[in-house]
Amino acid sequence: MPLQVRLSASLRRLAPGYDALRGLEADWRPGLTVAGLLARLDIAPQEVKIIMVNGRSAGPDDPLADGDRVGLFPAVGGG
């Protein structure tokens, strides 16, 4: 099962044509980490302030499992 990747807010500008309803799908392979996924999506790691895997916070070096839901968020500070 592919990874389900959701980009939040301003990160969507880094994925032209991003569909907020569907998100992105990415192929999983054993040993893939969040950082590896970011590299494949061509998203600079410093753009991403929050990483959520299946709704729980994760780090860039955490490995991903087949079918994981990955949420990537920028800093949000407006009021």
Binding site: S8, A9, S10, R13, A20, L21, E47, K49, I50, M52, G55, R56, S57, G71, F73, P74, A75, V76, G77, G78, G79
Partner: protein, 285 residues
């Protein structure tokens, strides 16, 4: 309640039906004002005395059912600091005033400008150029004069925060820069105060309640606040509907804190995306 008081309030009582329960009366503010004048007591104290007897002031009556009279009295005896009186803060302040939170501490060093009109409910053609904290106090006065507002028309920083936050039972983070949010969160940690964070960028927003020992902003964004230029709102702005919704969620968290009801738990973050639309719970740590 003493018979003479009921006699005085009699003309001001409004009968109400309650499905499946006995009907009840609520009392109009004009009657409460008359009682306050006769007793030489502040209107707020008269309202509290009525609520303590189970008699609802008509202005709070639609809260009945969700809140008990004792809950409403507890809100009226509560004190909440709202940091920032802009897009989030204006809405939070107006809601807390209507809710009947008895004391509001409002801190904002800014003045209203034209670009605030798209989303900041206290920004009007009349308030342009005026201090936001002072304008908030005037707006509260016109909505609910029993709410006492302490105005701090200054920017929050490490040195003035202990004095600003003294007497507060909860602090609502309605600021617009992450750096100041981190400073206020730290001041809350030191004072042992719950900190209700809300932030918006584009059609998305986050809400989190931080108590002592919780991961808080560092758990969400990292140890250092991101510069404003990197935050989502620098790219997407803050369009009209988002702050009002996030402010509503913050107010709901404040109510639960004040009444001792369970709210967002340790490390839980509500993420709202009005574009999809979706609302999801994220878990830190």
């Amino acid at each position: 309640m003493q018979a003479w008081i009921m006699e005085l309030l009699g003309p001001y009582l409004v009968p109400h039906e309650a499905p499946g329960q006995e009907g009840f009366y609520a009392v109009r503010e004009a009657g409460l004002r008359e009682l306050a004048m006769v007793q030489h007591r502040p209107l707020r104290e008269v309202m509290l005395a009525c609520l303590d007897e189970g008699l609802w002031p008509e202005r709070f009556r639609p809260n009945r059912g969700t809140f008990s009279a004792a809950d409403q009295a507890r809100l009226l005896r509560s004190s909440v600091a709202v940091m920032g009186a802009g897009g989030l803060g204006g809405m939070v302040i107006l809601q807390l005033a209507r809710l009947g939170v008895g004391r509001l501490i409002v801190c904002d060093g800014d003045v209203f400008e034209e670009s605030n009109l798209n989303r900041q409910f206290l920004a009007t053609r009349e308030t342009l150029g005026q201090g936001k904290a002072r304008a908030a106090a005037l707006a509260v006065e016109s909505v609910n004069p029993v709410v006492e507002v302490r105005v701090h028309g200054v920017w929050a920083y490490e040195d003035n925060l202990p004095a600003i936050l003294s007497d507060a039972q909860a602090v609502v983070d309605c600021l617009d820069t992450l750096a100041t949010r981190y400073i206020v969160e730290e001041a809350c940690r030191q004072a042992g105060l719950p900190f209700v964070h809300g932030a918006v960028g584009g059609l998305e927003g986050m809400v989190m309640t931080v108590r002592n020992g919780d991961p808080g902003l560092a758990g969400l964004y990292g140890r250092e606040p991101a510069p404003k230029a990197e935050a989502a709102e620098s790219f997407l702005g803050v369009p009209t509907p988002t702050p009002a919704l996030i402010a509503t969620l913050q107010v709901a968290e404040v109510i639960k804190l004040l009444l001792g009801w369970p709210g967002l738990g340790r490390g839980q973050v509500l993420h709202v995306d009005l574009g999809v639309p979706s609302i999801e719970m994220l878990q830190l740590g």
